[in-house]
């Protein structure tokens, strides 16, 4: 912004026209970025502060009250220094004088203007639509009028069998009215449902007492003796009595004000990817009134995404772009589970997977195009809606999981929450987040009381899903279920953390392309918002630097999590655990003796055999660590690091009567070649000597299986939070090839993985085809990857030896006694 036009010391003035969900969300995002930039004034036609419009349906149904759905109280505006004019409609914009005028004559000048005027219900031009008792369904006033009518009258007709119409009909019916839904199309919700799912929906609604007239065209509304509407007359001449008629046949972007100000409008106020109007650079528009790349959105999730981008520009960060959204729909009628997203009707080049159980009331349809999920309709069982929606938006290849797709995310293996993923069926006291002990009731309460919309917000306010993340899907379901309709899922491209706008991949690319070598340099060049980051970004940056520029970038211990700084695992009481490396799980009497002696000498309270074929000394005092390492004289097992952990082996052909290959030797060779390897997350390998697979190679990051004719290599398995079976990569002849192929795969992961992304997630993100192209097809590329890995590993030393023998980082272990 050109500040020279402003009187000195004065802040630029920002006006928001439209005190609704998108506009106020934009202000909230702006205040989060910088609360001091503008003098803000808000105009709203409605007499209320900003409320949650999507919850009008539960209000109509009597499930919530108006007070409960207020999102921003008047105090909120006051606390943030925002001037609020409610009950005032802006009637003109003078773009030359940069001033808006409201219907009561209030005028205000602006330097920046946001139009967030929402949309208007469409009322078809039929005779009688102006009669008393004829309404649309858009705001608090409409809702109150409906509640009032339900007290006095009996017959209601809702015109329009879409989302909004059905929610209105359901609410009126719950308030005791006799409701008929009139719909032009042959089936309900044709923009979200196919005929089969719509038929099931209609059945359930009929069971709740609603009546339907489908394929019916309204001709006219007829008045009664009192002048109020009394009947609906159809094209075929038939009539239906009605004391209340609610129109819900569609909405039109509210562009009246913009058009009067000669801003270019075409099915909405036309804006760019930065939400700026194409006509006047001082004027922005956001929300349902907007036409972005030819699309006007009518659900909150995309509007909130727009708001975030717009706030970014108003705060002069200037890097965000809105590139459009994929939306999904849920119907907020209690007791009915319905979900729909994407191109659910299918069509040319699409395949469909169907599951239909009309008796059980379950119908599911998945539409697949080019190996990606293109659309989904779920009826009766929507618990996997959030997962399908994620697959859809991420455009992830579903080729490998196709067989299981219909059975949902659980079916891919989710030890934590199998069988109980129906958020709706859970009791308030049921625990959702096992790490932080957060129950469903607490999450629902926080969502309602604090007006939360996103997963991130729920994490921040309740801590649910902020630790191991295995309950993320469940929390997303609770959000969707509580908000009823759509809620804004985490944005497709997530910033690395609150300290920056950039994503992990952007940061990785910048470090590589601009050859950045230190954390302060990255933060300077990429304009970090905080002086020295936080506990989330610093470890990630440190890893990206040392993995991209081995030998050149400086490893920063202060940016490593304590385990990697102390080279031992911190325990709940502040003591540490020590796990020495036992190559391939094989040990010697001499090693065992040293371990025993150390345990006695340092009074180690617990000695345990781990699940990774080695021995853990638990409860060690920090200051004893260097001494223990010296006495053990065994290398670090890196059990504490985002690094190579164990290479699990079975006995193999040396002893086992079934062994086809020397799996123990192979495992030891792999471990010796790869140890000291830092990675985006921990890395675990296993080698089995025959397909009986006693070393469990199928759940490892790299699993090697000996067969009579050589070795099979599997990658991207996982045995932790979410068990996933490794995928076959290649079959090779000898040990040298096992090393080269495994090493190349791991280097690819090291170079491209996002910090804290295990191989299973990395491969799911980039696709197995890509991995095959890089590691199998491109032989030269494979050798280069393996060479880069070896170079990186040459730079690393045994951290225990360095500290025990050479006194590296001594201050870390010595306490000062005063």
């Amino acid at each position: 912004m050109d500040m020279s036009e402003l009187p000195q010391g004065k802040k630029p003035r920002l006006i928001l026209v439209g005190n609704g969900m998108a506009g106020v969300r934009t202000l909230e995002e702006l205040l989060k970025l910088d609360g001091s930039l503008y003098d803000i004034t808000v105009f709203g036609s409605e007499p209320h502060p900003n409320y949650n419009r999507i919850l009008l349906s539960p209000v109509l149904a009597g499930e919530q009250t108006l007070e409960e759905i207020v999102l921003n109280t008047r105090e909120w505006y006051a606390e943030n220094g925002i001037t609020l004019h409610t009950g005032k409609t802006v009637v003109s914009i003078d773009r030359a004088a940069r001033q808006v005028v409201a219907d009561d004559g209030t005028a205000a000048g602006y330097d920046r203007l946001i139009l967030a005027t929402g949309s208007c219900p469409y009322i078809p031009p039929l005779p009688g639509t102006d009669l008393p008792g004829v309404l649309a369904y858009r705001d608090i006033a409409d809702t109150q009028a409906m509640i009032e009518a339900a007290r006095q009258y009996q017959n209601a007709v809702v015109i329009g069998g879409g989302l909004l119409g059905l929610e209105a009909a359901n609410g009126l019916s719950l308030r005791g009215m006799d409701v008929t839904v009139v719909h032009l199309n042959a089936w309900l919700m044709e923009r979200q449902l196919d005929p089969a799912a719509a038929a099931l929906l209609q059945q359930s609604l009929q069971a709740k007492g609603l009546k339907f007239r489908l394929g019916a065209q309204t001709a006219q509304l007829l008045p009664g003796e009192n002048g109020r509407v009394a009947a609906v007359k159809f094209k075929d001449g038939s009539t239906l009595s009605a004391d209340l008629v609610v129109f819900a046949v569609g909405i039109r972007p509210n562009t009246e004000l913009a058009e009067a100000a000669k801003l270019h409008c075409h099915r909405g106020i036309v804006v760019t990817d930065t939400l700026q109007t194409v006509t006047d650079p001082r004027i922005y528009a956001v929300g349902e009134c907007v036409s972005h790349r030819g699309v006007a959105y009518g659900l909150v999730a995309p509007l909130f995404e727009q708001g975030r981008v717009l706030a970014n520009h108003l705060a002069r960060h200037g890097i965000a772009r809105y590139e459009g959204s994929v939306t999904s729909t849920k119907l907020k009628v209690t007791g009915i589970d319905l979900f729909s997203a994407g191109h659910f009707l299918g069509g040319e080049g699409c395949e469909e997977i169907l599951l239909s159980d009309p008796i059980g009331g379950v119908y599911k349809k998945l539409v697949i195009k080019d190996d990606q999920l293109a659309g989904a309709v779920l009826y009766g069982d929507t618990k996997d809606g959030a997962w399908y929606f994620r697959l859809l938006r991420e455009g992830r290849s579903v080729r490998d999981i196709r067989d299981h797709l219909m059975f949902g995310e659980d079916h891919l293996g989710d030890l934590g929450h199998r069988g109980e993923t129906r958020a709706a069926a859970m009791q308030d006291g049921d625990e959702v987040c096992g790490c932080n002990g957060v129950c469903k009731g607490a999450i629902v309460k926080a969502i309602k009381d604090k007006g939360l919309f996103t997963l991130e917000e729920v994490r921040k306010h309740t801590k649910a899903s902020s630790s191991c993340g295995s309950c993320t899907g469940l929390v997303e379901q609770i959000l969707a279920f509580t908000l009823g309709g759509d809620y804004s899922e985490a944005p497709k491209v997530k910033a690395l953390c609150g300290c920056t706008e950039h994503t992990h991949l952007d940061v990785r690319a910048a470090i590589r392309d601009r050859k950045l070598l230190s954390i302060p340099e990255v933060m300077r060049q990429l304009e970090w918002r905080t002086p020295n980051g936080c506990a989330t970004c610093r470890p990630a940056l440190n890893y990206y630097l040392i993995s991209t520029w081995p030998g050149e970038a400086q490893d920063d211990p202060q940016s490593r999590y304590i385990n990697e700084r102390a080279h031992a695992n911190i325990q709940k009481d502040g003591s540490y655990s020590v796990i020495p490396r036992m190559w391939g799980g094989q040990t010697t009497p001499a090693e065992l003796k040293r371990i025993a002696l150390v345990a006695e000498k340092y009074h180690v309270p617990t000695v345990k055999v781990t699940g990774g074929q080695r021995i853990d000394l638990l409860g060690v005092k920090k200051q004893d660590l260097p001494g223990i390492w010296a006495d053990l004289d065994m290398p670090s097992g890196h059990a504490y690091g985002k690094a190579l952990r164990t290479v699990k082996t079975c006995v193999g052909s040396e002893w086992c009567r079934f062994g086809t290959q020397d799996s123990t030797r192979m495992g030891i060779d792999l471990e010796k070649a790869l140890w000291k390897m830092w990675a985006p997350h921990k890395v675990k390998l296993a080698v089995s000597g025959c397909p009986r697979n006693c070393a469990e190679v199928a759940i490892k990051d790299v699993g090697v299986l000996g067969v009579d004719s050589g070795w099979e290599i599997y990658v991207a398995g996982n045995g932790g939070i979410k068990t996933e079976v490794a995928q076959f990569l290649v079959k090779v002849k000898d040990a040298a090839e096992v090393l080269e192929y495994s090493g190349a795969f791991l280097q690819l992961y090291r170079e491209e993985g996002i910090y804290l992304e295990r191989t299973v997630h990395y491969v799911a993100r980039v696709g197995m085809d890509y991995v095959q192209a890089r590691v199998l097809t491109d032989a030269e590329g494979r050798r280069a990857l393996y060479a880069r890995l070896q170079f990186a590993l040459q730079q690393e030393k045994d951290p225990w030896l360095e500290r025990a023998r050479d006194g590296v980082q001594q201050h870390e272990f010595a306490t000062i006694t005063l």
Partner: protein, 109 residues
């Protein structure tokens, strides 16, 4: 009033790091920020007693190593939505040395 006790040289504490000093059997975490400000807290997180000295230091906060609470260095307070505080001690830097005053001082902020 208790006297100031010398803990160590400023350079004995890593930048964006901490050292542990024990006083009468109690662990005290002494932090050094990027801009060389020094703070001292009892080395117990208000959540479940985690050793704050082992956390990552950023800005004027430390993130507890056990469950990631963020604790303000200047007042010992947990950042919302978490609640609670670690008690603060008075420290000062003089002539390149760090000094601590034994009694728990009232927090300033």
């Amino acid at each position: 009033m208790n006297p100031w006790i010398r803990i160590c040289a400023l350079d004995d504490i890593p930048r964006l790091g901490a050292r542990v000093a024990t006083l009468g059997g109690e662990a005290i975490a002494v932090f050094r920020t990027e801009d060389n400000a020094v703070f001292a807290l009892h080395d117990r997180c208000p959540h479940k007693g985690g050793p704050l000295s082992q956390g990552i230091v950023h800005g004027r906060s430390v993130t507890c190593p056990l469950h990631g609470w963020r604790i303000g260095l200047d007042n010992g307070r947990a950042e919302a939505p978490d609640e609670g505080a670690a008690s603060c001690l008075a420290v000062k830097v003089e002539g390149g040395d760090v000094y601590l005053r034994a009694a728990a001082a009232a927090c300033t902020a």
